[in-house]
Symmetry: C2
Subunit: 159 residues, 2 copies
């Protein structure tokens, strides 16, 4: 079953109307690993130029409230969004100096999470785990000389 179908069902079950625009935004969002809000707007408009910026942002909020969208603020540039539903969770390790981001998976965390959440009577929908530190290179570089606004370098670690 396609991910976007399940997500659309999820929204429908919440009593949310599935308009043409919403379907399109959801499908484009699901098709990317990461995206900024403006990237998604551009992507959607490449297909249907009439879709308003506000509509895209409103869908992002819906997806967040449905628990299938995460927002990552990495301080360098605008926040990144990511549809987590139906994907293996992965977490992030970021260098606070140069902004490099490494993604990784750690299955042992999953069990602990369930425990904690149940203790508080919550129903778990998604999670983010970020580690901040200095990458090998930046540990050996004079901080004053370090490149400040780098491009977002993402190493994918696929299961």
């Amino acid at each position: 079953m396609k991910r976007f179908v399940l997500i659309e069902q999820l929204l429908k079950d919440k009593g949310i109307r599935l308009t043409t625009q919403r379907r399109l935004v959801v499908r484009r969002a699901v098709s990317h690993l990461h995206f900024t809000a403006e990237e998604l707007v551009a992507d959607v408009r490449a297909i249907e130029p009439s879709v308003a910026r506000g509509t895209v942002y409103r869908v992002l909020i819906l997806l967040h409230e449905a628990g299938v969208l995460e927002k990552h603020d990495f301080w360098h540039g605008p926040p990144y969004y990511e549809v987590t539903f139906g994907k293996a969770h992965h977490d992030h390790l970021m260098c606070v100096q140069c902004g490099e981001i490494i993604e990784f998976q750690e299955p042992r965390w999953e069990r602990l999470q369930e425990e904690v959440v149940k203790q508080h009577g919550y129903q778990l929908l998604s999670h983010t785990h970020k580690l901040y530190g200095l990458c090998e290179r930046c540990q050996h570089v004079d901080p004053k000389r370090a490149s400040k606004p780098p491009h977002l370098h993402v190493e994918e670690v696929v299961a």
Copy 2:
């Protein structure tokens, strides 16, 4: 040893000048559990009205790059900042519907983190772990009827 003294030393070691303004901002930041950037600006200005907004924001970036400041974006309202240095780490459980936030600690995570970070040659500075879900109340409430923009309710869980 006071936390702000250690942080000031940390900045000094990076070759950053300790101005009167920076010392003040650091000390006020450390004195709060959580704060928004604007709250910190107001707090600092209550003591020294001449301090510019830009200066406060610039200190936040320095603290982030030193790995002692975390930024939490909870989608409801502006992001919260938190000085993590010298504190027991705590993580967050958030209701995506009403925005309630519960803080908790989970010592068993710490060991796993160190492992992962070393694998990638990183030096760990701090971390954030957020779990998103539905709180007990919102699980039983019609989503359409749910209160959208709630106040930030934080339950402190102290060790």
